[in-house]
Amino acid sequence: MKRMLPILTAVLILAACSPKAKDPLQCSELPDIYPDYISVTIPVGIAPLDFVLNGAQGLDVKVEAPDGTILESRGKGATRFSERRWATMLEKAAGDSLKVSVCGLFEGKWKAFKSFPIHVSKDGIDYGLTYRLLEPGYEIYSHMGIYERELSSYGQRAILENTQFDGCVNCHSFNHNDPRRMSLHIRGSHGATLLTEEREITAYNTKTDSTLGFCVYPYWHPSGKYIAYSTNNTRQGFHVQEDKLIEVFDLDSDLQVYDIENNVVITAPQIKQKGIWESFPAFSPDGRTLFFTSAIQIEIPGELPQSKYNLLKVSFDPDTGTIGKDMEMLVDAASIGKSISFPKPSYDGRYIMYTLCDYGTFPIWHHESDLWLLDLETGQTRPLDEVNSEDTDSYHNWSSNGRWFVFSSRRDDGLFTRLYIAHFDENGVAGKPFMLPQRDPGNYYENLFRSYNVPEFVTSPVPFDRIRAQKAIDSKDRVPFGFRWSD
């Protein structure tokens, strides 16, 4: 009995620490929770959506599945749902909704809020996300890295961090969310573009005498034989007035397609036009079209607000690596005084999601930036009002089945970019997005002084050997890109 006493005491203390709502005052308001998970649509394989009730000293939450299964969480801070029981509950609720009832303790009195649903979609989601984490800074960078997050848990793993070498970890890209092949840029004194195939890593020097500079903004061809890159002379300026901080712009930019097998970079006069800036290439899912943005060159910095990028396409022959001459305008954003960035075709080929802002090519620093959707079948384009916010909504990517997309948003505080995932149904309508779940989201996001950047879905863990990568980066050996003009 003596041995049991400490355990018993601990249990009693824990029980005492978990307040249970007593005679709560019923109210008709929805609870003010963070993150806002009210009426969001989630996939089955997502980690528990823990949340905090703003201003409450205690929390008593009940989640009810359609089959009557109940999951409870009581405490003083955030909810803490059991991962195992949550996963089971979602499986049972697929295609239906969970009912969440929240009671909060405010100044010694319990309040029961109006319950709200969380819709559980039958559409599966990929294994995880990869993203870069870095401070939303200006010119100098501190600690940063590329990380992988398993979506069914809270586990985050570093793929590569700049503690391992001198430099900056830059854009990464996978072929159709397949992590076995990755393109990853390293900037700084050890600059290189790393191409990985399973665990093999090759470091390339992507700058050639015939192209503008290093390769930027990669997009894989579905065959895995090519990667489309832009090459940009990117600079930045700093606003002296308060409403904007940074303006990032290109002084010049072109497009090119890298032929992996033959190690040559291919370009054509029509995507390397003088007086025209081309950027953000993306292949269509059939690999026969190259989408990109394009703007008429203007004087920097005086005419910067007149820098308007449109969405165009050009044909591409994957058999010969030939870039067509049949350029076509898809969205004339300039005509409505706007500018397009990050065109991302859905993997079924029906839609292109892009970011629209007032001007320029770097929407993350524009509060007005929103996500838009182009229906390639009808030619109709519309703002994705279902997911857009008052603040910046920008970089985005599709899940491999096209039923989910992840995007970065500054809606939380206007500066630190956070990730949101939204469902996308067969009619092209998005559900309410949910913030990437964390175990104690209030504390986690409050203490996170880094921004999420370039989120990409991955279908399985990334087989990346960081020690081998570090050796490749530190080594002076770089495989040079060859060059040829398109026929």
Binding site: E139, H143, G237, Q241, I300, I364, S394, Y395, D413
Partner: protein, 595 residues
Amino acid sequence: MSKSEKIAAVAMTALWGVAVYCFFAFKYPYHIHFQEQYQLFEFTWDYFLSISSVPGGLSDYLGRFLTQFFYYAPLGSVLMALLLGVVQLLSFCIVCKDRRSLPAYALSFLPSIALALFYCDENALGGAAVAIALALGAAALSFLGRKRFVLELVLVPIVYLICGPIALVYVLAVAIREGRKGLPWTCGMLLLLAISPYIASLLVPYPLGRLYTGVHYYRYHNIVPGLLWISAALSLVPALLSGVKLKKNLIPGICTYVLLAGLGCFLVLRSADNVKEEWMKYDFMVRMQMWNRIMYSADHRNPDNPKTVSCLNLALSKANRMADSQFEYYQNGPEGLIPEFRGDYTNPIATGEIFWHLGMVNTAQRYAFETQEAIPDFQKSARCYKRLAETNIVNGDWAVARKYLKALQNTLYYRKWADETLSLMDGNSIFEKREDLRSARDRRLREHSFLFSDTEMDSMLGLLKVEHPENRMALDYLMAWCLLRKDLDRFVQCIPLIDAPSMPKAYQEALLLRWVLTHSDFEGLPSYISPVHARRISSFISDFQANKSSEYMQKNYGDTYWFYYYFRYRSLNDLARDNEKNASDTYGRPYSGGL
């Protein structure tokens, strides 16, 4: 040791402690402050885990814990004296009890002296000395165990985890102690220590080389701090040499101590970087807004480093003395007014203060942010967090400001300020109660939107003045910018912006200079120019044309703009070339941020 030896030993340690204290408290106090401002020690579990999860992390954590008290230089000096004293005592503790003698005790000051030299470098981190102390402490502790060899072996990876590669001190101390009989165990310990970094490299994202040389001993990771390793090696000297038998110990011990302590004091004083200390002093005074003390210091010794001069100029402007007295002090061109942005962690922090006081809040925010990002060992800065909270409050980005303030609430010395600020924000009375924030808010540009440009500083300063005529500092800086660049035409263009009742001395001198450069006599000279200055420039011209030595000219005209114009900064041709180069530079700066 005999009683008299013990008394001598206590006196030696006390004397050394006092010497270390005096050095840091009186000779090097601003290095102490400097260390503190480049870290943000938070009393949170996450912070502890983030630091202690790499080899040497616990030492680093303890070092940072101590460094937070450097907010007060006298307290920081006491802690430095204690830390170095502990290293000395532990260096003696690892000597076998039967071999302990006063000469060995005197030798135990060697690592402490080397560490004092090491800490003359502003990039030496507190965790380094803690690591040596802990490694020595572990060695001393291991001698107490019964199954000693097993304990000693087991401690190797633990000491490596706590102290990093300085754990070598522990292994070698044990090896010395055990002698030949413990050779197999010593080999085992060395092997274990050798593979520990390799195992660590599989677990933490650091290159193997850094895990062998230490992650957080020195602010720059690509530099292996030689003095630290010398100190580590010297910490074993007492144990190594303690076997030498002497007939008498007291006198040789005292002589050794006097020799070492004298040499140590000499070397430490020689290693002290007075130029950096002076700049750190000015930077500290700017941070604490001690404007009068800055001018008092400059009167005592005229600073000549551009960074220091820029602090002095800020103080002159804050005290409304710039227009009159600027050229009474050494001036080294526009770089001494608003230093050009450099991507390191020391330069932007002080320059950011200038922009903050001018009302260029976004620029002050950028400089604070960049300072922090440039800290080579990826630490955060409490000073920068405070400034970032302020700039975000002023800009209306309160959600971001709250993030910084909440982090500051986890600190010891900034908690009170953060609590008060948050409470004022909650009560929506922040601008009523905080004059500095209100003033910064009111000085911001509202009507003119443009991108910051180093080469168009005069235009930016002019707009600040035009939008807010009460912004006298903007006018001070605009006029000083023109004068320091020797751009008299631009200076004259800006004269209408002056609304002072009388023309300040430096401006009168500049106008007189331009007058004599464009006129043949003083006929028609504006009435606001004093005849006293007119007579003086005549005398200056005569002496100048008579090719009087620069020493003579400085003695007689060193407080005038004319002396600056002809004898300071660069030649007018250099200036013209610089302007041309600036104009042809590619617009904008490289970008490394996120999409």
